[in-house]
């Protein structure tokens, strides 16, 4: 892991927004985010619902819903700026160099086509694999995601599979084109608790076997600790803190990250679970200054009026909070 130093994905000043009601309402779903991901590295993207995690994933694929638009910024992937590519060039990257795992395994497979058909598509369209070798490839992929007797199961249809199996098949699809990056958008949220861990282990094993980079979206910091090398914490369309897993857990600098860590349930601890007060903000009507100030226990006058800048700490940790500004000054 230490040897992989080549940058695979570099997102710079990315802004994306949704426009609704004939342009009268604009929601800034991604509000200027920056992060990098090295080859073979796993990054956790954490935050509450509606903070822009899913939009970020789709933005990497340049596939936002019809009302959404990437306003500015660059997404550098494997040495080329995705924003400069034509639609068809972009399409040939999707599925070949990057794969995605969606949230709901029950809905993400086409009910009318066999597993074979759907797993084969990326390999067929992007890598030109045909005939017998295509079948072998599908079997190999299904085996790698631990589908029992793949030669038989691949002729079946999605409705004949359990949710956990379907999600593993979605994993196989994401690997089918031989990608360098996999984006997993809350892949275990809709799975039974008993098989969540199994799926996470599978993903981590696959990641280590194939050496792909992984962007792992979740709202569960506990999973991040298990899966990831680094973390980016998102709040209201912005990354409020990022750094290595070790640093973020041992020394969270942003009050939001601190609150998230406090709200992880711990075995043996009988104290009431910590709950972050208030609601995640409505992206259409963001608070002034730091968007987190209405819920922040340390909020000051300054937080209400001015947005804090990013402060970098020497070890690659970045935090977007006035407290961090003070800390950097004093420290």
């Amino acid at each position: 892991m230490v040897t992989a130093t080549k940058t695979l994905l570099k997102v710079t000043d990315l802004y994306a927004q949704f426009t609704g009601f004939g342009g009268t309402r604009v929601v800034r779903a991604i509000d200027g985010i920056n992060f990098t991901l090295d080859q073979g590295e796993t990054m956790g993207l954490v935050g509450e619902s509606g903070c822009g995690k899913t939009t970020t994933c789709h933005a990497i694929f340049r596939l936002l819903p019809p009302a959404g638009d990437i306003v500015s910024g660059s997404i550098e992937f494997d040495g080329q700026d995705l924003m400069q590519l034509s639609d068809s060039e972009m399409r040939s990257i999707r599925g070949r160099d990057m794969g995605m795992i969606l949230q709901d395994p029950m809905a993400s497979l086409d009910p009318l086509f066999t597993i074979m058909d759907q797993v084969a598509e990326p390999a067929h369209h992007h890598r030109g694999v045909r005939g017998g070798s295509l079948r072998e490839r599908v079997v190999e992929l299904l085996r790698s995601v631990r589908i029992p007797s793949p030669e038989i199961r691949m002729r079946e249809f999605p409705h004949q599979m359990s949710g956990g199996m379907r999600q593993r098949i979605v994993g196989a699809i994401s690997l089918s084109g031989g990608p360098k990056l996999i984006v997993a958008d809350e892949p275990t949220t809709n799975l039974d608790v008993t098989i969540q861990l199994q799926y996470l282990n599978l993903l981590r094993d696959l990641q280590q076997e194939t050496g792909v980079s992984l962007v792992f979206v979740t709202h569960n910091l506990g999973i991040v600790a298990k899966m990831c090398d680094k973390v980016a914490v998102m709040y209201a369309g912005k990354i409020v803190e990022q750094g290595s897993v070790r640093n973020i857990y041992n020394n969270p600098r942003h009050p939001y990250t601190q609150a998230l860590i406090q709200s992880i349930p711990r075995l043996g601890n009988k104290d009431p679970l910590y709950v972050i007060p208030g609601q995640p903000p409505n992206l259409a009507e963001l608070p002034t200054g730091c968007a987190f100030h209405p819920r922040c226990p340390f909020a000051t006058e300054k937080c209400i009026n001015e947005e804090p800048p990013y402060v970098s700490f020497g070890d690659g940790q970045e935090s977007k909070c006035w407290l961090s500004v003070e800390e950097a000054k004093n420290g």
């Binding site: 399409r91 995605m100 086409d110 369209h125 992007h126």
Partner: protein
């Protein structure tokens, strides 16, 4: 699949049974059906008595109902008041003409409704979509007899391009067919368009289409292979049902164009107070539509692996 078919068959039969009860009850509730003959010009006392005996009106209601259902099962709807021949032979004489008309109207409704519906959904909120939505709204709002009258007025009377009365010999007699089938297909084009559009939109918004795009499949493959196949199941279901409905609701169009189909027969029965004729055509409509629904359900089962592969 076998249990699925058996279930469907049972439910179709139940539907037919309830329908026969409704029709039977409505007729009996309105009085002695034989007395409808009173209103039939030239009917005499003994005619009424004979008709009453023929329909078994002196028996108890349950007995009457049983013989009513037995007659339906044998396609026996009695004698027409005005023609004096059996309703069955009248009906089957006219049916081919109705089939011909409905077939062409069906083709027109598919040819207009499906492509426009697909375009409308794929290019949602564009000019195509506006055209599609407007067309669908007009199809729903302009009654087919007005369309028929306008077509006659324009192409028949004013421009004198096309004949507008009756039917000539021959299957491909497009000159006599084009105006009636356009009028009949009008409403159904709008209906097909609406359904194709909404079905396509639903599928295009689904997670699996999202995943297809994330896989980097060419848009053509996404639309033609995945989206069309998924959205076509409801569309084909409606299309098949529409074909049969068109056979039976062509009344107004057949009246405008003097088309000798079963709709025209129904109209004749209606204005001449020929009750057995009306009842026969209506019951046949019910039988035909329930039967088609059953067949379509079974075909649907074969198309959809979710049904095909479960017992």
């Amino acid at each position: 699949m076998k249990t699925f078919i058996a279930k469907r068959l049972l439910s179709s039969l139940a539907t037919l049974l309830v329908l026969s009860i409704i029709i039977f009850a409505l007729v009996r509730a309105s009085g002695n059906p034989a007395e409808l003959l009173y209103e039939y010009p030239g009917a005499r006392e003994e005619d009424i008595a004979r008709q009453a005996a023929a329909w078994g009106l002196d028996q108890s209601w349950p007995e009457q109902y049983v013989s009513f259902v037995w007659n339906i099962a044998r396609f026996d709807y009695g004698q027409s008041f005005q023609y004096g021949t059996s309703v069955r032979s009248l009906y089957f004489d006219r049916l081919p003409n109705s089939l011909l008309l409905a077939f062409w109207a069906f083709l027109i409704s598919m040819a207009i409704g499906i492509p426009l519906g697909i375009m409308s959904a794929v290019k949602v909120d564009s000019l195509w979509d506006s055209v599609g939505k407007t067309f669908a709204l007009l199809g729903l709002s302009v009654p087919s007899f007005f369309v028929a009258l306008l077509l006659v007025l324009l192409f028949g009377v004013k421009l004198e391009w096309l004949p507008f009365l009756g039917k000539a010999e021959g299957f491909f007699d497009w000159q006599h067919l084009i105006l009636p089938s356009l009028s009949l297909g009008w409403f159904f084009s709008g209906a097909m368009l609406r359904l194709t559009r909404s079905s396509m939109l639903e599928v295009l918004g689904s997670e699996y289409i999202k995943l297809c795009r994330l896989k980097g499949l060419p848009e053509k493959v996404v639309i033609v292979k995945h989206a069309l196949k998924n959205s076509f199941i409801p569309v084909l279901t409606l299309a098949a049902v529409n074909l049969v409905v068109m056979i039976n609701v062509a009344v107004v169009v057949e009246v405008v164009f003097s088309w000798p189909g079963i709709g025209r027969l129904l109209y004749d029965g209606l204005i001449n107070r020929d009750f057995p004729l009306v009842q026969g055509v209506v019951v046949m409509a019910g039988v035909m539509i329930v039967g088609t629904n059953f067949i379509v359900d079974v075909l649907y089962g074969y198309l959809d692996p979710r049904i095909r592969l479960t017992r």
